[in-house]
């Protein structure tokens, strides 16, 4: 259950990244559609953390690193969105993009740990 969810997280994170790039190109600010996409990412990350914690016993090694990724990840979208929401320039979208990119990279690492040790 974890691997497909991680894949979904990566897909949504990349979608948020692309949406932010599109908004930056069109000089648009955060709106409900973008917030919705970020919220979807956040829900997926929380679900991933819950399932990951429940399944952590399946890992033969790297449990602590795995847990660190699981718990760190859900903090990123709210953090970067909070930073971006008050910024009324294109830099808001770059901030959102940084967060989405970090989520994608960290989830790839999480998936690597899972497939190597579970």
């Amino acid at each position: 259950m974890l691997a497909p969810l991680s894949t979904a997280v990566i897909v949504v994170a990349v979608a948020v990244l692309l949406l932010a790039a599109l908004y930056a190109a069109r000089d648009r600010l955060i709106n409900d559609a973008l917030l919705g996409a970020v919220a979807l990412l956040e829900v997926a990350l929380i679900a991933q953390a819950a399932i990951g914690v429940a399944r952590i016993g399946d890992l033969s090694a790297e449990k602590a690193t795995f847990a660190a990724y699981l718990f760190s990840l859900p903090f990123i979208p709210p953090l970067t969105t909070l930073l971006a929401i008050k910024e009324k320039s294109r830099w808001a979208m770059v901030t959102i993009g940084v967060g989405a990119f970090a989520v994608a990279v960290m989830t790839v690492r999480l998936g690597q740990i899972w497939s190597a040790h579970a």
């Binding site: 660190a68 940084v98 960290m106």
Partner: protein
Amino acid sequence: MPESPPPAHTATGPGRVIIALYAVMALAATGRSSVQIAEYFGRAPLAYVLSAVAALIYLVATGAIIRGGRRAVRIATASCAIELAGVLAIGVLSYAVPRLFPDKTVWSHFGSGYGYVPLVLPILGLWWLRRFRTSAPAPAAAPE
């Protein structure tokens, strides 16, 4: 004397992106160092302590850039400078004396494990903070 009117605050425009990058790095370094120190400190104590130091410096830089103001700019500038020195020194050391670093730190190999963000970020930070250093006591260097 500033050549162009400086932006209102360190936390606006590109500053937001720099804060986001710093916050993510702070999170990553804190996570990594707490795992390393809690789980296998004996394996590479130097590397792990350095990870924790890096995490602390990222936190200080994040807070100072969010805060803004003359004192915070000075603190942020100092943390960026320490970071740059750290990533360069540890980067060289990790290639020159690899046995000192049996395990990775945020700064080893110039931050290659983090897409070289640890190397680029302090440079970006210093570039951004430079324009806020109005009437800072210049210690006889680089004429503006």
